[in-house]
Amino acid sequence: MDRNKQQMNPSLAVYRGVKRAGINFAASVPCVNLQQLLRLVGEDPEIMHLPVTREEEGVGICCGAWMGGRKPALLMQNSGLGNSINALASLDLLFKVPLLMIISHRGCEGEQIIGQVPMGKLTPKLLDAMQIPRLSPSPDQAEDVVAQAWSLAEERRSPVAVLLDLQFWRAK
């Protein structure tokens, strides 16, 4: 069992966590590292998937989906966190709306694109400042941690972030 998990493809591990959490609605803005996960989510008939134009819009759509009875996830790059701060605070935190945020965390160790570095460094601090819990699993922990992240979001009635950095996606 452990051996299987260690060998698990990172995208598949996250997807299995999403499924175990019972996520049945997803909004997304792509990141290169989310390609496979987006395909898995997009092809899943049990998940209504809406590609959106901007992450903040996704926060609004996911809030609507939750109020309508769904379990929502927002799939995005951490640059999108910056685009979503006001919505996360004055919609989700204010009204106590749970949201699973699966975030490709760019701008960390090994980043080739200099423009990713400022938001990469700020991402954990921004989440901490908003008191939004953040979890950073390894691929072998990802299924469990993603499922737990949604439970935590429901329990706290708040967004919860799963940060997946370059090392995570490189694991094979």
Partner: protein
């Protein structure tokens, strides 16, 4: 047409249609609350620009419920991308009413670009929306409120003298969700 008159027409239609209403922040929500408070009203207290998106999420997951969004020109200009998402995903149970008073009415009536000629109907069409129209009087709005898609309602500048909504965020969302989900199940 005054904005509060437009909101009154929308509130009457929403009640008759047993529709859920998502309302933009500031004076529009206050006017709606003063005119006709219903547990089916979601009063946005922050997140300017997202009424249309919240309503879209609701309409997609509650296909048996009609969803009416009361938005403003300033708020829509802030989240124009969502018009493209709405155009390609919005179901027939969704109606976005953009109350266009050509200004930021809740912050001192500073002009928006619609004051200088930006045409929200044309933008919505350009985004790919098919059912879009502009109305400038009560008759036009009444007829548009029977349909779906996007309606731009031209209204006068000015806020009614209405108090701040006394409900807590928890109360607003709790009763809204109960109404939304109960009716969907029945």
């Amino acid at each position: 047409m005054k904005r509060i008159e437009a909101i009154a027409l929308a509130a009457e239609a929403a009640e008759a249609q047993e529709a859920l209403v998502v309302c933009n922040i500031g004076f529009p929500s206050r006017e709606l609350y003063a005119l006709m408070d219903r547990s089916e009203n979601f009063y946005m207290l922050g997140s300017m620009g997202l009424a249309s998106s919240i309503g879209l999420g609701l309409a997609l997951v509650l296909p048996k419920r009609r969803v009416i969004v009361l938005d403003g020109d300033g708020a829509v200009l802030m989240n124009l991308g969502t018009l493209a998402t709405i155009a390609h995903n919005a179901p027939r149970n969704y109606l976005l009413v953009i109350l266009d008073n050509c200004c930021f009415g809740s912050t001192g009536s500073q002009p928006t670009c619609t004051h200088f000629g930006t045409d929200l109907e044309a933008i919505a069409r350009g985004a790919g929306a098919e059912s879009v129209r502009t109305v400038a009087n009560a008759e036009g709005l009444r007829s548009a409120l029977a349909g779906d898609g996007i309606v731009v309602a031209k209204v006068e500048i000015g806020n009614a003298d209405v108090p701040i909504i006394p409900l807590s965020p928890e109360k607003i969302i709790e009763r809204f969700m109960k109404s939304a989900q109960q009716a969907e199940r029945s």
